[in-house]
């Protein structure tokens, strides 16, 4: 088990270093000078442009040798210093991101976990009866093929505009200030339903199909046939198949994280939900490169943490990894 975690941890650390390097590299070595672009977009007079240029050079730390820049980037990182936002000048990037993180947790954690649990349950049911298979499976394929933003748009249009029952913009009513009152929590929940639902539904489709296929595969395995031959009740065989089929689904969750992040990003954009995804859009539209870098790093950190949590779950569920015999490939 220790070896399993060591290997995983090594990969994650390497990934993190690589991600930070990409984050550092891209603004510096892209064709075209981002600082020039920044300044030309501002449309300033020549003198002030020059002043701004030297300011940005210092702000980006571009006036020292390259290796020193890279080192400084890491040092700043460990001090939690992501620079100052240009869009919301002069707020530090870290503050802006920290304000967005709770909304991401509120939206993503329930959506991912509940869709995974529900998808697995319904997928297992679908493998059990012809009738359910004929309804859940096509629905699952349609849902998993749906682009996240389109489902978001459709739900917003249907429930927000046509039926006019749910709000579809922001995380709480624009007329409210965040507080611990019932009215605020209620508003928070109301605004949460639609983005949650669109994330939940798309992911649900994928998990249901995956589980259905895995169960059918497991029921063809030798141990299932053997149990059946022994006269074990169908329910027992199904239960064993379900437990075995869960493992690839956990691995699948880890594999899907990247796609889910992308889905969350566009869902937040559709609903103007103030998480990191929406922040990323703001950063891009306002050419706030510091904020964009910060968002990128936070997404990476989030994905790595999630991966690690999944690894722990895997060990808890699969005794073989604990015995150090074998894990996933």
């Amino acid at each position: 088990m220790r070896r399993y975690f060591e290997r995983k941890l090594f990969i994650y650390i390497l990934t993190f270093v690589l991600a930070v390097t990409i984050d550092w590299l891209i603004p510096r070595f892209m064709p075209g000078n981002p600082i020039q672009i920044l300044i030309s977009r501002a449309g300033l007079k020549a003198e002030s442009a020059k002043l701004l240029y030297s300011y940005y050079m210092r702000a980006f730390g571009l006036d020292v040798p390259v290796w020193r820049q890279y080192l400084n980037f890491w040092i700043a990182l460990f001090h939690g210093d992501f620079g100052i936002s240009i869009w919301l000048f002069p707020q530090p990037v870290i503050q802006i991101i920290m304000r967005a993180v709770p909304f991401d947790v509120l939206l993503l954690l329930p959506a991912i976990l509940l869709s995974w649990l529900a998808g697995n349950k319904f997928g297992a049911y679908a493998a059990r009866s012809k009738w359910l298979d004929n309804t859940i499976s096509p629905l699952g394929y349609i849902l998993t093929a749906t682009p996240y933003m389109w489902l978001g748009i459709m739900l917003g249009w249907l429930f927000g505009v046509i039926l006019h029952v749910l709000p579809f913009s922001g995380a709480y009513s624009y007329s409210m200030m965040p507080s611990f009152s019932w009215a605020f929590v209620g508003s928070l929940l109301q605004h949460w339903i639609l983005p949650f639902a669109s994330l939940f539904l798309v992911m649900f489709g994928g998990w249901a199909i995956g589980m259905r296929n895995m169960i059918i595969y497991e029921l063809e395995a030798d141990y299932s046939h053997y149990l059946e031959a022994l006269g074990a009740p169908r329910k027992l065989v199904r239960n064993y198949a379900f437990r075995n089929a869960l493992l690839p689904q956990i691995t699948g969750l880890a594999l899907q994280l990247g796609v889910i992040v992308g889905g969350a990003l566009v869902t937040e954009i559709v609903f103007s939900y103030p998480g990191i995804g929406y922040l990323t859009l703001q950063a891009i539209q306002n050419h706030d490169f510091f904020l964009l870098q910060g968002c990128f790093l936070f997404v990476i950190i989030g994905v790595l943490l999630a991966n690690f949590a999944i690894d722990i779950a895997y060990v808890l569920l699969d005794p073989r990894t604990r015995a150090g015999m074998q894990g996933e490939g």
Binding site: T15, D23, I26, I153, W157, L255, F289, V303
Partner: protein, 285 residues
């Protein structure tokens, strides 16, 4: 090992499989629309054709946008872009996956270790966010560029799957025999291993195709797609930005999303159908 009888058998199951028929029909329909559609319209995607906010009519089949552009024209040109991204992005993703998967699976040992680690790293990094940050710094972006970059980040799961398949084929008797007879590794992979995985590679390509389309739609929707031309994702982006929801201009945002869902869904169902044909165990379900 050619088996003439087997061809008819496969054809029989192809024609009998409802999933495959439906999936292929849906995808084919949109391919035809993408090819023929631009010929049916006399406008360009960004042309001002009529006063804006018109619902579908006999003249403008899909209505017009807030700026008086013809939605149908944008739609068919967007379809073209969608298929190009799928073909190039999905194709490249499959190709890299095959390359890395074959090498890692056949070589084994230290090469496998290194490639496996590389694969796992790219697998963990959320590719869309990397694409996003690259695209955000580029002033001019083309469709080809987008497709290639999507392909560059889409291969890991394919490489992993192909690696494990190659791994299990490597120790079969006929591969051993080829090796004993002094065949070069590359030739063994091409003539002995690859033909046994052809069906599997086709399935991988179909999934990569669908995945590339969805990734491109996401990028386009954020506004980081190609800077020239239209795409289905960009149509949805414009619809949302310019308030199509509140203005109830459903004809602006339903066609692009519906098309993507139908194409990708069609591909997935085709995939399941093919899987049932190639894998006899699944047939009778």
């Amino acid at each position: 090992m050619p088996q003439p009888r087997k061809k008819n058998e496969i054809l029989y199951f192809v024609l009998r499989n409802a999933k495959l028929r439906i999936g292929v029909a849906v995808v084919f329909l949109f391919v035809v629309l993408a090819l023929v559609g631009p010929l049916l319209t006399k406008y360009q995607p960004r042309d001002y054709v009529a006063p804006g906010v018109q619902p579908p009519s006999s003249e403008f089949w899909f209505g017009t946008t807030s700026f008086g552009e013809d939605v149908f024209t944008q739609f068919v040109y967007g379809l073209r872009a969608t298929f190009i991204v799928g073909l190039i992005g999905g194709g490249l993703g499959t190709l890299i996956g095959i390359l890395i998967g074959f090498i890692a699976g056949y070589r084994g040992g230290i090469v496998d270790e290194i490639l496996n680690m590389f694969t796992n790293i790219v697998l963990v990094v959320p590719s869309l966010v990397v694409l996003l940050i690259i695209a955000a710094y580029l002033e001019v972006r083309g469709l080809l560029f987008e497709s290639v970059f999507i392909g560059f980040f889409a291969w890991p799961w394919a490489a992993r799957a192909i690696r494990s398949q190659t791994f299990s084929l490597r120790s079969r008797d006929f591969v051993d025999l080829a090796r004993l007879s002094g065949m070069k590794p590359l030739k063994i992979i091409i003539t002995e291993i690859a033909p046994n995985m052809m069906s599997y590679l086709l399935l991988v390509f179909i999934l990569q195709f669908g995945g590339a389309i969805l990734t491109a739609a996401t990028l386009d929707f954020i506004g980081l797609g190609p800077t020239n031309g239209v795409s289905l994702g960009l149509m949805m982006n414009n619809a949302v930005i310019y308030g199509a929801l509140i203005l109830r201009m459903w004809w602006w945002f339903i066609p692009p999303g519906l098309a993507i869902t139908a194409i990708v869904g069609g591909l997935y169902i085709t995939n399941v159908g093919l899987d049932e044909i190639f894998n006899p165990k699944l047939r009778e379900m």
